[in-house]
């Protein structure tokens, strides 16, 4: 039901953009006003969220060590798994963010008769995630062509590599396929893997459906509906957006407005959703802290003043027993009164 709702929501959004953009004057709303608004929400929301996190103190050093910490000279220190210096933390974070290292570790457990539990390496999630994220990244970079004039050479190189196989006309980009496939695989996994399906919320399906539709409309424009849109007008508009002088020339085509409207929705939705993991991954205390806590004191800014039950109080409580047992005491017992 949750995934069905996500489809319905995205279909509704598509209809809004399709019908809306046909109303005279509305292209300015969809092509100019909403993109600016969405971008503002995205940037403002993203920054707000990150600042909101950053302002919250990290009272304790709670790194998760995934290997040998630095201790004695002859014990081999695992620098990436239990980093001791800033450089080592940076290396750990780099692998985490760029290579999804923790996901690479993933295993699948099964319980068999006996009972007998088995664990085997399971890299599917890691593979799907890499396909999805890197395809998306390259697609976004390629889109810079639309906003920059002249187009930087490096974007051309990326496009060249992305279309290296030269299949079809116009040449299919690998990342276009990758993005669609990545989303579809992640979506399929969410439906098919029983425990993932059980925990999935609308918040999990919706962004996948949304991104899939964005990719789909983009692909339709580039490969199949080329005659419906005027690329010159699109470029004029997008460069105009980037230079704060947007102009909408002749009619561009509804498919373009659907595409850009969905992108706006994604941008505006981003800071309020789980998609903020893209910022949070940099700030997770279990990953980005050094495991040098016995060597260097970590300061808790709100450390409350709490004193232990004092030794004096302890001795007062047990002095008699302590003296009798021959334990040293700070204060001797009061002299016994002579019995008469």
């Amino acid at each position: 039901m949750k995934y069905a709702f996500s489809f319905l929501a995205v279909i509704a959004l598509v209809l809004i953009a399709w019908l809306g953009s046909q109303i005279p004057g509305m292209p300015y709303l969809f092509g100019v006003a909403l993109p600016y608004l969405a971008l503002m929400i995205f940037l403002g929301g993203f920054v707000y969220r990150v600042v909101h996190w950053a302002k919250t103190p990290v009272p304790f050093s709670i790194q998760t060590t995934c290997g040998q910490g630095k201790s004695l000279d002859f014990i081999k220190h695992s620098k990436l798994e239990a980093p001791n210096t800033t450089a080592e933390v940076v290396a750990r974070m780099f692998l985490e963010i760029v290579c999804f290292r923790s996901l690479f570790r993933n295993t699948k457990s099964e319980i068999h008769d006996g009972p007998h539990i088995t664990y085997e390496s399971s890299k599917w999630l890691w593979v799907f995630s890499l396909i999805f994220h890197y395809s998306f990244l390259v697609v976004v970079i390629r889109h810079l062509r639309l906003f920059l004039d002249p187009v930087p050479a490096c974007i051309g190189w990326i496009e060249y590599l992305d279309g290296l196989f030269q299949v079809g006309a116009p040449t299919w980009y690998m990342t276009d396929i990758g993005l669609l496939a990545g989303v579809a695989l992640l979506f399929g996994r969410r439906l098919i893997t029983r425990h993932v399906r059980f925990i999935s919320l609308v918040n999990d399906y919706f962004p996948l459906v949304l991104i899939f539709t964005i990719a789909l409309t983009g692909i339709l424009m580039r490969y199949f509906l080329r005659t419906d849109i005027d690329i010159v007008n699109v470029k004029q508009l997008t460069v105009g957006l980037a230079t704060f002088s947007p102009v909408i020339g002749a009619e561009i085509g509804s498919i373009f407005y659907i595409h850009i409207f969905l992108v706006c929705i994604l941008l505006a939705y981003f800071p309020f959703s789980k998609l903020m993991h893209s910022g949070g991954v940099f700030m997770s205390p279990t990953r980005n802290m050094k495991n040098n806590t016995r060597a260097v004191r970590h300061i808790n800014p709100w450390n409350p003043r709490i004193l232990p039950h004092s030794y004096a109080g302890y001795e007062d409580d047990f002095r008699e027993y302590m003296v009798e047992a021959g334990l040293p005491v700070e204060k001797e017992l009061p002299p016994k009164k002579d019995e008469e």
Partner: protein, 543 residues
């Protein structure tokens, strides 16, 4: 509580209609209420214990009362909901970890089958992700725009009494072992979530006795067991007698001695119950053999800190005794015995909470001259670091054949492995003192499985849960027991020594549990000794 027969439970974990075995619940998890019945919850804290803790300076344990989880009415304060929401809000402002872990989860499910409680019970709410969602759903409802507008559609829900009951159930079915955080792509640590849930529950007087009673004992007498100073001394001296009887050499021990070079702190369970006793005997033999100038303390006679399982204020208050005692006695530094969660507190919290310990010196081994630079600020050395260094410098002589009755395997304790990175030192020591093998690779080192009874869950009334949660660990031991005839599960954790013993008795009879230093002392050859043959090491019964 009676525990099901082995055959029954063995079948149940494989065939029971649970998410872990393939059955898919038909209801949304939010619609499945928790049901408390004998055996699935730990007894609530006794009224007088809560009252005592509430009376201590710096701590707050309100709403002391008699209550039972099985009752409909938990006798919560009238404004309990405001207290919880306010408590959550305060903690969101104090812990970045909480905020990030609330916001960043994408529910990828990588953590799901990493949890020993999930593997053993199959209960979907024992998947780390769902344990966090129990709290996250309320967080969304109160603190996020999407949750406020879209409600259940955005995974938000009202804070209700049944949600509170669910929190109680599942925050006490997590041992804060952090295995899930190793696999999470964002390092989301369920231990943080569980700690917050437990802190929140204490705000309205919901806690368990197996934790709060040791906490109050620790505060007053210095240790969990409530051993008063003279009893603690007696217990240690019994062990001294035993060591003399076994090895022919009476180890020198002292208590609360001012001017000693080193304060030694270990979990009180080591001087109180088998098999920890043998580990304590091991410490004495080792320290005596190298002529270490150290003292025990009756005031700081507990390394363990059940405050970690309660709230950060209590953790601080209990932990503060170590430095207070070190300062009073005028020692140079502290050596800590074998304990898991104690070392999480020492390694990750102690200095922040109760430091700087500028009245102590950077630890230097008086035997080898090694400077323990890695403890330069905390000034507390792990016994395994200390021992490994002694071995490296050839200061200890071993006869491995004295451990020939043992075929060991090594259990990495959750906290020392994942919250400290103490992984190779114990292995280095094992290599020198005993014949041992590793368990399968997905169950050791940073992927080690919890004993299933940590964080104050080692209480008998939830024995079935404990045996289920310990299954992944037990199963890995069974593998090496069958394949390599392993008969000893060695570890550096006092809770493990107690709980793994029950676990082995249940799943793998024939496998005993020991501390690392017991094996060290078994194999240790002392100058001028006149030691009789000890076919079972320190466990040999002499008549």
């Amino acid at each position: 509580m009676s525990v099901p027969k082995l055959e029954q439970l063995s079948k149940s974990v494989v065939q029971g209609p649970t998410l872990a075995t393939g059955a898919i619940p038909t209801m949304d998890w939010m619609d499945i209420p928790v049901v408390f019945k004998p055996g699935n919850y730990a007894y609530p804290a006794k009224k007088e214990k809560v009252e005592y803790l509430d009376s201590l300076s710096g701590l707050s344990f309100p709403n002391a009362r008699e209550w039972s989880p099985e009752d409909d009415d938990w006798k919560l304060p009238e404004d309990w909901k405001d207290i919880i929401i306010k408590g959550l809000s305060d903690r969101l402002d104090k812990f970045r970890s909480l905020k990030i872990f609330m916001d960043c989860c994408v529910r990828c499910g990588a953590c799901a089958d990493k949890c020993h409680f999930f593997l053993g019970t199959g209960d979907p709410k024992n998947m780390p992700v769902l344990r966090a969602e129990l709290l996250r759903s309320v967080y969304r409802n109160e603190f996020t725009l999407a949750g406020k507008i879209l409600g259940k559609m955005a995974g938000a829900r009202e804070m209700t009494v049944s949600v509170l009951k669910e929190w109680f159930m599942y925050s006490y079915q997590c041992t804060e072992c952090r295995r899930c955080s190793v696999f999470c792509p964002y390092g989301i640590d369920t231990a943080e979530i569980t700690m917050m849930l437990r802190e929140l529950l204490h705000l309205v007087g919901v806690g368990i006795n197996w934790i709060l009673e040791p906490v109050s004992n620790s505060n007053r007498t210095g240790n969990h067991m409530g051993l008063q100073p003279h009893t603690f001394k007696d217990n240690v001296e019994f062990l001294v007698d035993d060591v003399e009887g076994l090895t022919g050499i009476r180890p020198n021990v002292s208590f609360n001695r001012k001017g000693a070079e080193i304060l030694f702190v270990t979990p009180s369970a080591d001087v109180f119950a088998e098999p920890g006793l043998y580990t304590a005997m091991g410490y004495m033999i080792l320290f005596d053999a190298i002529g270490l100038d150290y003292t025990w303390s009756t005031y700081a006679s507990e390394g363990g800190n059940f405050g970690l399982f309660t709230n950060n204020e209590t953790m601080k208050k209990l932990n503060a005794k170590m430095y207070a005692e070190a300062e009073r006695l005028g020692v140079k530094y502290i050596i800590g015995g074998e304990c898991g969660h104690m070392w999480r507190v020492v390694h990750q919290y102690m200095d922040s909470m109760n430091g700087p310990a500028d009245f102590l010196e950077v630890p230097v081994s008086p035997i080898t001259g090694t400077v323990f630079e890695n403890t330069a600020s905390t000034k507390m050395v792990h016994i395994s670091e200390f021992t490994a260094d002694l071995i490296k410098h050839g200061k200890l002589k071993f006869d491995k054949s004295r451990n020939s009755h043992v075929k060991a395997t090594w259990h990495d304790s959750c906290n020392t492995a994942r919250a400290m990175g103490l992984i190779e030192e114990p292995r280095y020591i094992l290599d020198h003192v005993v014949d041992w093998v590793e368990m399968p690779e997905n169950t050791i080192r940073e992927q080690t499985f919890c004993c299933g009874s940590g964080t104050g869950l080692n209480t008998d009334e939830i024995m079935e849960l404990r045996m289920r949660a310990g299954l992944p660990r037990a199963n890995a031991v069974k593998y090496v027991h069958d394949k390599h005839l392993v008969n000893m599960l060695a570890c550096v954790c006092a809770i493990d020594r107690a709980t793994l013993t029950s676990l082995m008795n249940y799943w793998n009879p024939g496998v005993e549990v020991c501390g690392l230093t017991e094996l060290v002392a078994n194999a240790l050859v002392r100058e001028g000794e006149n030691r009789p043959e000890l076919p079972e090491g320190l466990r040999t019964m002499l008549f």
